[in-house]
Structures are given as C-alpha cells and as structure tokens.
C-alpha cells in the first residue's frame, strides 16, 4: 500500500495539457502527477455527465496525491468552451457524447500515460455515473488497461428503446471482451443502475469468468461520493475511496 508519512518529500504538478483523441483531434486534458522519477502507475479519470468540472479536477489530484499519474481528458471538447455547466448543458441538449468519441479520447490518454518515462506501464480507468459506464466500456473495448473502476455507472444495461446512434450498443453486451479486473461500487437505493441492473451485469461477468469485485452499499443511492450533492453518504464514500485505492494498488502498483 502506498502511504504518505510526515517525513516524506511530497510534491505534485497539476495543469491543463493536450492529448490526441477521437478523429485525431487535439483535445485538452487535466494532468496531475506526483513529482519524482517514479515509476508511477497511471489512471485515466473520465469525467462525469455534469462536465469537466472542479469535482473531477479534485478527484484527479486525489489520485496524484496517492501516487498515480492521473489524466482527465475533456471528453466534451468538441462541444465548445465555456463554464463547465454551460458546456454540459450543450452536451445534454445534443443527446450526450458518442461512445466512440469517448473511447478514442480515453485510448489517447492511455497511450499518453504509458509513453511517459516515469510510468510503470500499468494504467487503470476510473469513472462515476455516466463515466462509470464509459470506464466499463473502455475496459471491454480497448486493450491496454490493467484495472477498471465503475462507480454507479448507469446505462450499462440498456433496453433496445434506449439505444441511440451515439450509444448504439449496451455495454453489458461487451462483457465477454472485458480485458482487465473490474471494481464496481453501487448504492442500493440507486435508480440507474438499480440493484437489478447490477445483478444482471454480475451474472454476465460470472458467465464469462471475469475477475470482478462488486460492493453494494445499503442506505446509499446514486453519486454517494459527491460531497456537494444531497446524495453524499459519508461512510460509503470513505469506504468506497478506500476500496478504489486498494484495488488500484493491487493491480497497478509494481514498486514503491
């Protein structure tokens, strides 16, 4: 377990940068990393539906604080620039961001992290809400991730009526292609994904003999990590973060 002690040197660099994503576009990204030669594992931090916002910058820095090269691509780049909520409103009005676009932005971020001299060549993917779904999708459709964390990703299980040109296939249908261990954190009171959705995904993971670890928290609903939202639940949030770091330590850390 990577632990900071009070006698350790600690430093972090966090800044916006760019990366090549979908269609070869150069998109912007937020990159937080510990100072030092490493080697460090990496995490692609896919932002949630409400946007590439302050909360996701905080989460990105949290991963860096714990010793990860943390990279959060702006998957809403192509919708224009403005305050995160104005951009998110535009995305919402446009029917969301296409799965293929998110996947290529994520793949570009993965390649960037693995190319760094201080990388230990192990990279995970993390997301919450819509990006929990996208993290699962990335772990199924992209090669190269070593661990994935899906926090209450809604829309992994989709009915035919819910499929659109931007989201043409339900992620659960790609379960057989899952290429790395998966951690899932869910709330029993969530309405999307419901406990039934989580159960269906679990059955599919079992069917294909996948390495996964699911935790269903009682008295928690959707988004229980978000301290600025009414659904914040202190105990599940603290325990959930602990599980995220234990999981990434297990599958991504190679030294230190």
């Amino acid at each position: 377990m990577h632990r900071y002690t009070t006698d350790m040197y600690e430093g972090m660099l966090a800044e916006t940068t760019t990366v090549q994503g979908f269609n070869g576009d150069i998109i912007n990204a937020y990159f937080a990393r510990p100072l030092g030669p490493g080697p460090f594992p990496g995490v692609v931090v896919i932002h949630h539906m409400p946007g590439w916002d302050e909360l996701y910058r905080e989460m990105t820095r949290k991963f860096a604080h714990h010793g990860y090269l943390a990279f959060s691509p702006n998957i809403y780049y192509r919708f224009g620039h403005g305050s995160p909520d104005d951009v998110a409103a535009k995305v919402r009005a446009s029917g969301g961001v296409a799965d293929d676009s998110v996947l290529e932005d994520t793949e570009g971020s993965l390649r960037f992290l693995k190319s760094l001299p201080q990388s230990n060549k192990k990279v995970g993917v993390f997301g919450t809400c819509s990006s929990g779904r996208q993290a699962f999708l990335a772990a199924c459709r992209l090669k190269g991730f070593d661990a994935a964390v899906d926090c209450w990703g809604g829309g992994v299980v989709m009915s035919k009526e819910e499929l659109t040109s931007k989201r043409p296939v339900a992620p659960i249908d790609y379960t057989k292609d899952l290429s790395c261990p998966l951690l899932g954190l869910f709330g029993e009171e969530d309405q999307n994904p419901t406990p039934q959705h989580v159960h269906l995904l679990e059955e599919e993971l079992k069917k294909y003999g996948k390495n996964y670890e699911f935790h269903m928290y009682p008295k928690a609903g959707h988004g229980f990590f978000y301290y600025d939202r009414p659904n914040y639940r202190q105990e599940p949030a603290v325990d959930g973060w602990k599980k995220v770091f234990q999981f990434f330590e297990k599958y991504l850390r190679t030294s230190n």
């Binding site: 409103a89 919402r92 999307n192």
Partner: protein, 93 residues
C-alpha cells in the same frame, strides 16, 4: 441517475443572461441531474441562443413537483390572457 432524457423546442422571445438580454432561439428541457439544485433529479430548463455561444443561456432547475406547478401555471396564465384578448376584441366589435 443519468437519464439522457431531453426535449428541444424552437422558441421566440428574449432571456436575460449574465451579459444582459438576448434573443432566444431554443429551449432544452431535460429530466436529469441538476448542476446546482439540491435534488437527485430535476426538470432542467435551458433557454438558449446557440448563435451567441454557450453562455447565452438562462437556466432553471426545478423539482419535478415544481415543474408541474410551473407548467400548470403557464397554461392557466396563457388561457386567461387569451380569454382576455378575445373579450377585448369582442367588445371592440
């Protein structure tokens, strides 16, 4: 809960945003996560003018119950206004 449920309509009128009044072209109505309201899900209304950039937006986030009240209030007010206009026109004739 991410629903992705959004409806769009073309509208005529004006809205007041951070830079003052602007012409409205569209209204986007969604039932999804709000940005600011302390609600798990909300009826979000965005009056926008896409030609004027992303900040040309008047945003409202309402609880579903409040949104129903608003819809009823709008329809009631419109009906009263239209009745008033009809009566005025009849009186003039």
């Amino acid at each position: 809960m991410c629903t992705g449920i959004t409806e769009t309509a073309q509208v005529k009128g004006s809205g007041k945003g951070p830079d003052g009044w602007f012409k409205l072209e569209e209204v986007n109505v969604s039932y999804d996560h709000p940005t600011d309201a302390s609600l798990e899900r909300a009826l979000n209304i965005d009056f926008v003018n896409p030609k004027k950039g992303l900040s040309a937006r008047v945003a409202v986030e309402l609880s579903p119950e409040s949104a129903k009240k608003l819809a009823e209030t709008i329809l009631t007010t419109l009906a009263r206004g239209e009745d008033h206009m009809k009566n005025s026109e009849a009186a003039q004739n």
